[in-house]
């Protein structure tokens, strides 16, 4: 198989804040691809949310022409991958497009769970990995210790690990040389039938879907008629190009190369990540391995605060889905919240990002219900139901089997917090599978636990019980039977569907009490008495009461006070716009998240 000796395709693996985006910025500057004038921080993170949170959500590529010290000219394709457990599938597809990776580890922090998960993914793809120790200019950096850590936990030889400071640019030229010298060139036959892997796609309002791909075999030309393997749908290549760093049109791309094309594709669903592109006239015999349908794992209800915004929310969701095939939604009606949507997400971060984008980019005012996992329920008629909304749980009398999804989780934690993490995992119904010392002071705990327990307040609790030192990663394993019940919350004797949660029976009592108390504190005192109850079936297990308001009156209102007083009342009314009225009672937005935040006070 011919090798494309002048090409290197690589990704950067790093934990959040370990310096991935900064290193990418330095590489672009060092190779003069981005000049002083256009320089900005986190060049590759295009979305505001990506920059602010310091995370990458969408994959990016950049083609970097590089003249090595040996005088030869190379093309380096940097494929920037998302770095979060929610996007594992996307990460795996981006990695499949590369031959090697730079592993960036913060020399003052050491290896984190997320890093490890992605390194394993890269190793699964037989990647060559160059360990890079970043932030060596910091006083707290301990290069030798972190090298030992990498060697012990990944088994990666760190003799030639590169010490750098992405911030100052120290060591970056050596990184470029190492990419050329140590990473393998891609191989593939430019004459063979076309076989290209889609590793990202997004919707552009002018050009339709833009598809990022890596050619495994064959050659693609502008004007070609291509076919997508999974659907058989055919498109013309209307535009072909590379990002370097801005879009640059090119007439043809061959095996080993990375680029994009537009073909008047209307829907992201027609160019899904992981799918294979081939020629309509001369198709490849097989697709690139690893294509799968991504499944939403976490669900929540999204409702417009003002019910007249329903159509606006629908339009916003449609637009977002154009750019994110992993996110799903369907109309749903709640007695409490009116018309809205049940939305599915890859994970909690994905959910937060979508909610944030709806509020920011589409100015939607939203009420979100507490997230839920998908439960599997078998009823007496032998049917299996997938329940993503606790309010839709079949009548308990009809349920014969009840299953919930489990994950296997790895937590990396300094040894002084091991006890805290174990307590937390026990409380979250976890069972310990393994405990290993990564180094003398860092421990890897492996647990299996119900995913629902993670969806509740797990991340926050983990952070606070380890002072932020723990990092974690998880993967889904299976569905396991569980003793679950639906916990209803009643406001003035009416069950509020949007507040129902599914919980383990042993925890129902204490959770019911805490949610009722949380609701009491969240719901402001109002004109009328508010009685909050938690119930399992017909049995009330907790009760709280909010006494009605005592006094809210303006003493004087004469001719000169009328406008001011009217405006004041108008303003108060506006301030309550985010409240949902249920009969007499106004429920603030936070009330719908009470189940999530019971641990906060």
């Amino acid at each position: 198989m011919p090798r494309q000796e002048h090409i290197r395709n690589f990704s950067i693996i790093a934990h959040i804040d370990h310096g991935k985006s900064t290193l990418a910025d330095r590489i672009l500057e060092c190779t003069k691809l981005v000049n002083e004038r256009d320089k900005r921080a986190q060049y590759l993170d295009r979305m505001d949310i990506e920059r602010e949170r310091g995370i990458t959500i969408k994959a990016q590529t950049v083609r970097i022409p590089y003249t090595a010290d040996n005088g030869k000219e190379y093309v380096l394709n940097l494929i920037d991958t998302p770095g979060h457990v929610d996007f594992n599938y996307e990460v795996s597809r981006s990695l499949a497009a590369c031959e090697g990776a730079l592993l960036v580890v913060d020399a003052s922090q050491g290896v984190e769970a997320q890093t490890l998960a992605n390194v394993y993914l890269a190793l699964d793809h037989n990647h060559e990995i160059i360990p890079i120790l970043n932030k060596v200019d910091l006083a707290s950096a301990d290069v030798e210790k972190v090298k030992t850590e990498i060697e012990e936990c990944i088994g990666l030889d760190c003799t030639d690990a590169l010490p750098i400071s992405a911030k100052t640019g120290l060591g970056v030229p050596a990184v470029l040389e190492a990419i050329v010298a140590r990473l393998p060139a891609p191989e593939g036959d430019p004459e063979a039938p076309l076989k290209a892997l889609i590793f990202d796609s997004w919707y552009d309002s002018y050009q339709g879907v833009m598809v990022l791909f890596r050619i495994m075999d064959g050659t693609i030309k502008k004007g070609d008629k291509i076919r997508l393997f999974s659907t058989g749908v055919e498109h013309d290549v209307l535009r072909l190009g590379v990002f370097s760093p801005d879009a640059l049109d090119i007439d043809q791309l061959s095996a080993g190369e990375v680029g994009f094309f537009c073909g008047n594709i209307k829907s992201l669903g027609d160019a899904r990540v992981g799918d294979t592109i081939t020629h309509a006239a001369r198709p490849a015999s097989s697709a690139v391995d690893g294509f799968k349908d991504v499944q939403a794992m976490v669900f929540c209800g999204l409702y417009p605060t003002d019910s007249s915004d329903y159509e606006g929310l629908k339009a916003a969701l449609e637009k977002l889905q154009l750019n994110d095939a992993a996110f799903s939604y369907e109309p749903e009606t709640s007695q409490a919240l009116g018309f809205g949507f049940r939305c599915g997400f890859l994970g909690l971060l994905h959910m937060e990002i979508i909610q944030e984008r709806l509020e920011r980019e589409f100015q939607m005012e939203l009420i979100a219900t507490a997230p839920s996992v998908i439960y599997r329920v078998v009823t007496t008629d032998g049917k299996t139901h997938h329940v993503a909304n606790p309010a839709k749980l079949p009548d308990p009398g009809r349920i014969t089997e009840f299953y919930e999804p489990y994950v296997r989780m790895e937590v990396h934690v300094p040894n002084e917090y091991v006890g805290n993490v174990m307590r937390l995992c026990d409380e979250k119904r976890g069972s310990q599978k393994d405990i290993r010392y990564l180094t003398a002071t860092r421990v890897i705990l492996t647990y299996e636990l119900p995913f629902a327990e993670i969806v509740y307040d797990f991340f926050d609790r983990l952070k606070s019980s380890t002072k932020g030192y723990a990092s974690m990663d998880y993967e889904f394993i299976d569905y396991q039977p569980a003793n679950l019940v639906k916990l209803d919350m009643l406001i003035n004797s009416d069950p509020v569907d949007a507040l129902a949660v599914i919980v383990h029976r042993d925890k129902a009592y204490s959770l019911g009490r805490s949610i009722a108390l949380k609701l009491k504190r969240t719901i402001p005192r109002q004109l009328f008495e508010v009685i909050i109850q938690a119930a399992i079936g017909n049995k009330v297990i907790a009760r709280e009461r909010n006494a009605p308001l005592g006094k809210n009156v303006t003493a004087k209102c004469y001719g000169g006070d009328i406008t001011r007083k009217r405006k004041l009342l108008e303003k108060q009314k506006e301030g309550k716009k985010r409240m949902k009225r249920m009969g007499n009672v106004e429920l603030p937005q936070e009330a719908f998240l009470a189940a999530l935040t019971v641990g906060d006070d």
Binding site: L527, F528, G550, K556, G559, G560, T563, R566, Q572
Partner: protein, 419 residues
């Protein structure tokens, strides 16, 4: 048409008052060429402007408010009233009120003078009969002066005498030492209850003293801390123990009951009158009548236009003298949409114990009130916060105490509009 005249001067500034008034020394008040004389002649000029703009409209009531209107000399009050009589068709027997501070009303000849000038209703700013409370509020009169002033007025032929009183007053520190026990402990709860009792009993004394003086009308206002006032700053600095909600509720409900026993009917959130002595001028505001506003910072609402005069005396003077004939002095203007007028009607009518007249509401809006707001109306009635007769929907005394929260809910249920 109601006529409101604003007097922007005070002898000294009360510590709870946010209104921009100008302090006036004793000499200033007495000087025939001083600010009050200048004020009076500008006001007479302003009356002429309104006459030109509106013609000789009928006037049902005149109200001198402030500031401290009792700083005006009876002759000055007289010339303003003369100008009004000359310009408009003032109804015979029209209610003509003036607000008076006890110390200035006691100046020799003042009460008799204003009575002779045509004033037939007096409203005394008394606030409290407790020396330490008067001090805290920054009032410059004593309880004794208030009593003397009321007694003096009663010997003159005024139709109604009213007293302004204040409940919900904070404790000056020396009167209620901070509770040492930790919050929530039984002893702290006992101490807190004792404080509530003390506060309620102080208010009971003030109210009983007022009733004993035999006025025909009482206005009882809960203290509102206005931003930027010395009292508000003191409260922010935590050197002032503001009474808890339960004290305020107890004081308010006590007011309603005690005054009812004494023969005063509540007719608005803060206003109580013997039969036939309701303040017609103020009722006019709550019934949505039109009103002229004369003097600095005065507000007028005629038709769907609300105009506010410049608050600064000099700016107001300039606006009056530079005003072209047929126009009104330039100030802030607000155009009230039908939807806004609807909101105001609701907001103002629900302040009165008579409540909102259902017939006119239906006529005006084309909707039946109790159907339009059926859920809210039902819940309010069921909770004893409102009552409903064939002709009116009204809040009960307990409802009045929550009127902001209630009106806000009506606002939320009103059809959306751009206000």
């Amino acid at each position: 048409m109601l006529v409101y005249i604003h007097i922007p001067y005070c002898r000294g500034k009360c510590r709870y008052c946010a209104f921009s008034s100008q302090p006036l020394g004793r000499q200033g008040a007495a000087n025939p060429h001083g600010p009050l004389a200048a004020y009076t002649s500008t006001l007479v000029a302003e009356i002429a402007l309104w006459r030109q703009a509106l013609g000789p409209v009928p006037v049902s009531s005149i109200f001198f408010g402030g500031g401290t209107p009792s700083l005006l000399a009876p002759q000055q009050v007289g010339s303003i009233l003369e100008a009004l009589h000359a310009a408009f068709r003032v109804a015979s027997g029209a209610e003509i009120s003036i607000e008076a501070n006890p110390e200035s009303a006691l100046q020799p000849g003042w009460l008799a003078g204003v009575a002779a000038a045509g004033v037939n209703r007096l409203s005394f700013g008394v606030q409290s009969f407790h020396a330490e409370e008067l001090r805290l509020l920054g009032r410059i009169h004593t309880a004794q002066q208030a009593i003397q002033a009321v007694e003096a007025a009663q010997r003159l032929p005024f139709n109604s005498i009213s007293l302004d009183l204040m409940w919900g007053l904070p404790c000056a520190e020396e009167a209620c030492p901070p509770v040492a026990a930790s919050a929530g402990s039984p002893s702290a709860t006992r101490a807190a209850t004792a404080l509530v009792r003390q506060a309620v009993s102080r208010w009971q004394t003030t109210l009983a003293t007022a009733i004993a003086l035999g006025p025909q009308h009482l206005s009882c206002y809960g203290l509102m801390l206005e931003e930027g006032t010395p009292l508000a700053r003191q409260a922010e600095g935590n050197t002032l123990a503001l009474p808890p909600d339960r004290t305020l509720t107890a004081q308010y409900l006590h007011t309603v009951h005690a005054l009812r026993r004494a023969g005063f009917a509540q007719y608005e959130i803060a206003n109580f009158a013997k039969p036939g002595h309701q303040c017609q001028h103020n009722l006019g505001y709550w019934h949505g009548e039109e009103y002229m506003g004369l003097g600095p910072a005065a507000v007028a609402t005629v038709g769907s236009v609300r105009r506010t005069n410049p608050a600064d005396v000099a700016a107001w003077h300039k606006a009056v003298v530079q005003c072209s004939p047929g126009k009104l002095p330039q100030g802030e203007e607000e155009h009230l949409t039908p939807a806004t007028l609807e909101q105001e009607l609701l907001m103002l009518a629900l302040r009165t114990t008579q409540g909102l007249p259902l017939g006119p509401w239906a006529q005006r809006t084309g909707r039946a009130f109790t159907r339009q707001f059926s859920t809210l109306v039902d819940s309010l009635q069921r909770s004893g916060l409102a009552t409903r007769t064939a002709t009116h929907f009204a809040l009960t005394p307990r409802g009045l105490l929550l009127s902001n929260a209630i009106i806000e809910q009506f606002f939320a249920a009103l059809p959306a509009h751009s206000g």
